[in-house]
């Protein structure tokens, strides 16, 4: 048995936002996929990265670390990382480790995109 993760990447709002949709398990075995996707999104110059966790059923400490590192790297480039669509089990973990106080978290991807655009507009 091996864990699996799929990541779908999209560019929105004239390339200003990267949307990463995660499905499956984000753990020590799959976390390098998200590292690559986050690096690619940052190199592409997006102002915000929205991570849709709607189909993510499991997250381990490795996954949490990569989210945190991804946010730190994005902010060094003046970008932000926003999360949306959390499953209850994943939300429980994020709240337990204090990430809900660090990451902007939204109920839907539409809300996350609107917030990313509003932030981007304020900074332009």
């Amino acid at each position: 048995m091996t864990s699996s993760l799929s990541i779908t990447s999209q560019s929105l709002a004239e390339q200003s936002i990267a949307m990463l949709s995660l499905a499956g398990r984000l753990d020590a075995n799959t976390v390098s996929q998200l590292e690559r996707a986050l690096t690619d999104a940052q190199l592409a110059g997006h102002r915000a990265i929205v991570i849709d966790l709607g189909e993510l059923i499991y997250i381990s400490s490795s996954g949490l670390r990569v989210l945190l590192t991804g946010r730190g790297n994005a902010r060094k480039r003046g970008a932000d990382v926003l999360l949306c669509n959390l499953q209850p089990a994943v939300r429980e973990i994020l709240e337990m480790v204090g990430f809900s106080a660090i990451f902007p978290i939204f109920e839907s991807r539409e809300q996350a995109v609107a917030a990313a655009l509003a932030t981007s507009d304020r900074e332009n």
């Binding site: 973990i93 480790v97 204090g98």
Partner: protein
Amino acid sequence: MDIREASLTIPAQLDQIQRASSVARKLAEQIGFAESDLNQIELAVYEACANIVQHAYAHQTDGHVHISARAEPGRRIVITLMDTGTTFDPQTIPAYDPQQVTGGDGQVSGLGLFLIQRMMDEVRFEFRVPSSDPSQPGCFNRLTLIKNL
């Protein structure tokens, strides 16, 4: 008491440890743990195995982790993980504090251990335990995880 047990030995590889956490989850499910508890048990065992693979066997490629789980209906599940890797002192691991994490540079330590301790009711480390199995002499490390129903 209708005690149920399961055990499994896996190679110390990251792509194997989901097998161990699944065994513990399935056994816990059989004695009626709620879904949120099952998620916590699965994650605690996953984190514990990942720590063993990444730290105890950091310099060893042929290590194994033995997992045994004992479910006591109406009472609790006791999960034991054994390895023969490098020992460590849990007291030396910087404590993860969710109130202090800022995410500035993305560096955190002690997160796995924090999750294990939050998910389980009892966590006990024992190191260099002498083997009582004549076919496998030497010492092993033992981590015991207990969650009450």
